[in-house]
Symmetry: C2
Subunit: 236 residues, 2 copies
DNA sequence: TGCAACATTTCTGCATCCATATTCTGAAAC
DNA sequence: GTTTCAGAATATGGATGCAGAAATGTTGCA
């Protein structure tokens, strides 16, 4: 629950603290650090060529994001995410994505509608061609458009947070060649519902879309994907 | 999204940073600082008798909680919450409280069930006696029990975050003598649904409970409650 | 009088230093 | 051989110093 805006991104880019924060988040999400691994201020500082100060501040932020856990006078540890946590997050997200789709139906701008349509048709093209990389990228973008279209900075921020969070376990999901196209078909139906101004339908579809994404992830082996940190390709 | 646990509370209590963090949050939520007011590191530090370091770290955390906004090389400003933000939060919460009630129905322990029942009947007593203070306290506690009973640390943390957040605007809501008892009646029905293991009903009731709370708040004048910082008494 | 360039002040960002809590190590005692 | 306790090593928590960016104030010129 925080307010993102342009200024914030400027900070992140040009301040040491911001860079450290993003670097660490990226590393944790990508699996560079093992779960429960201890992060030491000096070590990280030296690695990034900065002093302890920005590292410490970044730690506080990462703690609040739930990515690390700080034990007083002891150290910072990468938090573990259990399979139940993942499931819970998806269930929560499914509700919020539904709400987001409803609000998007009510508030989407013509420009956003256009971009969403374009996204879906472009994805359809890449799906046929088997371009998984682009498909994953478009999938991410679809959801971002949806978040922006709901016209609620509170909900948008919540969903973006979750999106970030689950990246840790959402590995090789869309790499599965079946899910990508199927996911896009669902996007298409959501898009059409929004275009038809059918908020109830859009909500239901978006809701189900997340549940399907989760089910697919479980079927494809949450166990393997979770823990051993393979290459990330994807989204939803 | 962060992981709360016992250790964390220890930190907050005994470290300077934790104390500064909580003091500032309390002050912002209670309205000691105006919206968009600038918070200066040295001033706060001197006021609390600490150096800039813990203040700065507290700032970073407050920023992620969305309570302040930090502009690089400029300063920290108390963020404004619009009426739309409040409405959005309540809508989001209503969904999540519903989900929470559903999960609580499935996972509540006998001890938690007992405490919930006790809470409701005790509140009934205070409602008859017109003890608004205790009623508000019990109202808060009811929700905390529900959060704990859902047996999901992700959802529990989300809801506690929101709960904190809306404290800023949820002033004198339950001070309204009508809402307190009415709220408790709703709690009672939620409790009974959980006891009867009717998850669907519990979800619906909890969902509606939040919507009612919001409607009541709006009827009682969100406008006045919001912005001029009157005494806080209450909950939901 | 208005404006622009410059100087001053103020505050943040980061580095460094000191204090303290925890952990590790090793020697002595049983 | 095991346990225990003391001291060293190490890491974090907090304070302070310094450089630089932004805001403010001032002066000089049109």
């Amino acid at each position: 629950m925080g307010n993102y805006d342009v200024k914030q991104e400027v900070t992140d880019k040009y301040s040491l603290r911001g860079r450290v924060f993003h670097k660490l988040r990226e590393d944790i999400l990508s699996g560079k650090y093992e779960e429960h691994e201890e992060l030491k201020e000096v070590a990280i500082g030296e690695e990034l060529g900065v002093s302890r100060t920005p590292v410490r501040e970044a730690f506080r932020q990462l703690e609040l994001e739930g990515l690390i856990q700080i034990i007083p006078n002891k150290g910072a540890y990468v938090t573990g995410i259990t399979e139940k946590d993942v499931k819970d997050i998806y269930m929560i997200r499914s509700l919020l994505e539904g709400l987001c789709a409803r609000w998007a139906t009510e508030h989407i701008t013509p420009e956003q509608m256009d971009e969403m349509e374009e996204n879906v048709y472009l994805a359809e093209f890449h799906a046929k061609k088997g371009h998984l990389e682009q498909l994953a990228e478009l999938d991410n973008r679809f959801h971002d458009i949806l978040y922006e279209a709901c016209d609620s900075k509170m909900l948008e921020h919540q969903l973006k947070d979750f999106h970030q969070y689950v990246l840790r376990v959402r590995k090789k999901t869309l790499a599965n060649a079946n899910r990508g196209p199927k996911s896009n078909e669902e996007h298409k139906r959501i898009m059409e519902a929004i275009k038809a101004r059918d908020a109830d339908l859009a909500e239901n579809l978006a809701h189900q879309h997340m549940i399907n994404a989760y089910d697919n992830m479980v079927k494809n082996g949450l166990h393997e994907a979770y823990g051993n940190h393979t290459l990330v390709t994807s989204s939803e």
